[in-house]
């Protein structure tokens, strides 16, 4: 028995002494990235950031106070997308980045909206600037900044938010109504605060526009069977299925939809369907599914000259197309940070905040400008005015951008059995 206890203590001492320092030639600017690396929104943001940092360092780094300092990306696994893990774990990771790894800026931010909201108070306490790029879409995030600017001015978000995306979807559905005469919608959302809020705003907006919203079903996380809702929608002649499913079980819903050959077009947020590999995973059953990737550039498209360059660079470095929400926004966040630091010519939080509010660069998905009061990226349908969204449709194995019309790559296809 003695030897077991000794080897246990030996194991502990080795781990304690593991060197954690990082080489320091020109003192690098450290970007902390609290991401849930075991999930899509986590690792694709991480890849976006590393790609951007690598490109900037190759191009000579950031000129601050006369010196050329490289970026160093420190990623910590927050596990905050796992259901059984308390948010305190994510906040602990954020603090580890700030205090232990001495991160100057935070990019990506905790992914789950409740963790992101909780982290805002933490950022204020430690006076660290953070750009949230992936995962959290709740309008509450920017509302808090607007209400309490002095306290929460350190938080920025360079990806779209729910209210804006709802407008995009309504305009898309309006176009479909004109072209295909759809007017009956059936809403199925996951039982999560921002998804339910999205479902309710969609229901209100569509009924104003004259649509008949048959029903709204809310599914708790972990539901494995959607047959009752789908059959109900088929029977009542719904021709549009509005979905908001961030949970992995949404693949079950898609498979059932295509097996039942329902006469309705699925549109909305399906976290699982953003990945290029999804097509093979469901054996092509996600054909005709329309998914919103929140920001342009997460799928091959020609929004600005930079978009295709970014897609090629991503494919070369990581071997596959940009995967989903969070890739292009994280990539751009690093570039925005570089522009702001060079404009403020220092890494001090106050100066960088002022600079971030003024910078205006033409990015991967349109013109990137932050709203002074809410620190939210200014969205628009025209890449020259603001950040453009990226709604794609799965067409024979490819993700084709179909919205906004100005940058659309293809037309909306309707399943043959619907005609």
């Amino acid at each position: 028995m003695r030897n077991l206890v000794c080897c246990l203590i030996l194991l502990l001492t080795i781990i304690f002494l593991m060197p954690t320092g990082s080489g320091a030639q020109e003192k690098p600017i450290i970007i902390g990235a609290p991401l849930s690396t075991a999930f899509l929104y986590g690792w694709d943001a991480e890849r976006g950031m590393k790609l951007a940092a690598e490109e900037i360092n190759k191009a000579g780094g950031v000129t601050v106070g006369g010196k050329k300092r490289p970026f160093a990306v420190e990623v910590i696994d927050t596990r905050d997308l796992e259901p059984g893990v308390p948010v305190a774990e994510a906040l602990l990771a954020v603090e580890k980045l700030i205090l232990d790894k001495k991160a100057d800026f935070l990019v990506g931010g905790p992914i789950r909206s409740e963790a992101a909201l909780a982290a805002m108070d933490l950022l204020n306490k430690h006076k660290k600037v953070s750009i949230a790029t992936t995962g959290n879409l709740t309008p509450a995030y920017t509302k808090k900044i607007a209400e309490n600017y002095e306290k929460y001015k350190y938080c920025f978000r360079n990806s779209n938010q729910v209210g804006e995306m709802m407008k995009e979807f309504v305009t898309l559905l309006e176009d479909l109504r004109k072209t295909h005469g759809f007017n009956k919608a059936y809403i199925m959302v996951q039982d999560v605060a921002h998804a339910r809020a999205g479902g309710e705003t969609m229901q209100k907006a569509l009924t104003e526009k004259g649509w008949t919203v048959i029903d709204m079903k809310i599914y708790p996380t972990g539901t494995v069977d959607y047959s009752v809702g789908l059959i109900d929608s088929g029977k009542k002649g719904a021709n549009v299925l509005f979905l908001w499913m961030d949970m992995p079980e949404s693949a079950v819903l898609l498979k059932q939809w295509s097996d039942m050959k329902l006469k309705s077009l699925p549109i909305g947020f399906v976290n699982a369907a953003e990945q290029p590999g999804f097509w093979k995973a469901v054996e092509g059953k996600c054909e005709y599914l329309i998914v919103n990737l929140c920001n342009g550039g997460n799928a091959p498209a020609k929004i600005t000259s930079w978009t295709m360059k970014f897609v090629e660079a991503y494919k070369k470095k990581w071997g596959l197309e940009p995967e989903g929400y969070g890739t292009s926004s994280s990539y751009m966040a690093v570039y925005q940070l570089k522009a702001a630091i060079e404009k403020a010519n220092s890494t001090d939080s106050e100066a960088v905040i002022k600079a971030l509010e003024e910078i205006d660069i033409m990015g991967v998905y349109g013109r990137m400008r932050f709203d002074k009061k809410t620190h939210q990226i200014i969205p628009s349908f025209d890449p020259k005015e603001g950040a453009v969204t990226g709604i794609i449709q799965w067409q024979s194995g490819k993700r084709v951008q179909i919205f906004p019309p100005k940058v659309a790559e293809g037309k909306v296809l309707v399943p043959p059995w619907m005609k």
Binding site: I15, T20, P83, P86, V87, A193
Partner: protein
């Protein structure tokens, strides 16, 4: 040349069986109080030692929170015989009630935490009252289901801020107040419980564990005794919940997360069930270990579980009892 052999003298046997020992010399006093003093001085001085690594102060806070929950599990399971797998239930209720007092009724922090502890404890005891007569595996499974059930109810009814939770709780005035509240409270509860367990009431609770029929036969109602024990355990749990809600200025359904149930149980098992100090030692080992392993990403859970299984299988009595035995024994060479 006379033969020498190692003779092992176990001072402890006399101490353990008798339970009474005369303290004669200062050396004897030191011998007994030594470990306790090291623990107290160590815990009090932690914030100063960690001045140079500020992040680890936060880890110490979390460690104390987990050790409080572990203490309440250890007391309930090993002294009263109620195996409650739902430690997260106490934490969740404590956190939510603290948020309600602090945000909705805007009580200041030094009022909302004690109030939340008491109300939370009353609420938890009332909720657990109907399942007190259950025994063994059944009580464990019901209490495991309580936090999951509350998560789903809050999520379905979208009350108390739904899945977003309640934000904007007021935080502690400054760093040291934050640390010292939790450290002092943990030590208070630790030594308070050790004292309580040897009191007459504590003996009655231990009697309930041995066999409750005998307690019933001597005119004491078990239901009252068990609810008293659950109340004490939930006071500790709810304080931990209220504290962590204020520490992170946020409380939401993930306070009911499974981690708040499993890690305390693991630290009690590793630290040594039955000795209340075991819970503290268990979390002193487990929480910083999980922090160090964070660099490994999800692999750290695997290492965590493997260590836990090894300890359960090979050293099921726990570290504390093993150390106690070793502390009381020593060998010396004796002429044959």
């Amino acid at each position: 040349m006379e033969m020498m052999r190692r003779e092992r003298i176990d001072r402890g046997i006399k101490v353990r069986t008798e339970g009474i020992y005369a303290i004669s010399s200062i050396r004897e006093v030191l011998y007994l109080l030594g470990p306790r003093l090291i623990l107290i001085v160590g815990m009090i001085s932690l914030p100063f030692i960690l001045e140079l690594a500020p992040y680890w102060k936060r880890v110490v806070n979390i460690m104390c929170v987990y050790s409080l929950i572990a203490l309440s599990f250890d007391f309930l399971a090993n002294y009263v015989g109620l195996v409650c797998l739902g430690g997260a239930f106490f934490v969740g209720i404590g956190g939510y009630i603290a948020a309600i007092f602090n945000v909705y009724l805007s009580f200041p922090i030094y009022v909302s935490i004690p109030l939340a502890t008491i109300c939370g404890a009353i609420f938890c005891t009332l909720m657990l009252l109907p399942c007190l007569p259950l025994r063994g595996v059944y009580f464990a499974i019901v209490t495991l289901m309580y936090p999951l059930f509350f998560t789903r109810v809050i999520e379905a009814l979208n009350i108390l801020g739904g899945t977003n939770g309640i934000t904007g709780l007021s935080s502690f005035p400054n760093q040291y107040v934050e640390e010292y509240t939790i450290i002092i409270v943990t030590l208070l509860f630790l030594f308070g419980m050790r004292r309580f367990v040897t009191q007459d009431i504590g003996l009655v609770l231990r009697g309930v564990k041995d066999n409750d029929q005998a307690v019933r036969a001597s005119g004491i109602s078990i239901a009252y005794m068990k609810s008293l024990a659950v109340f004490i355990a939930s006071v500790m749990g709810c304080f931990a919940g209220a504290y962590i809600a204020h520490l992170y200025m946020w409380s939401g359904i993930s306070l009911f997360a499974l981690d708040f149930s499993i890690i305390p149980i693991a630290s009690v098992v590793i630290g040594g069930g039955g000795t209340l100090v075991g819970a503290i030692i268990g979390s002193v080992i487990l929480v910083p270990l999980s922090e160090i392993l964070r660099a490994f990403g999800t692999f750290r859970i695997v290492i965590y579980c493997i260590i836990l299984t090894l300890v359960i299988v090979f050293k099921s009595e726990g570290l504390m009892i093993y150390l106690q035995r070793k502390y009381h024994q020593f060998e010396r060479w004796v002429k044959v």
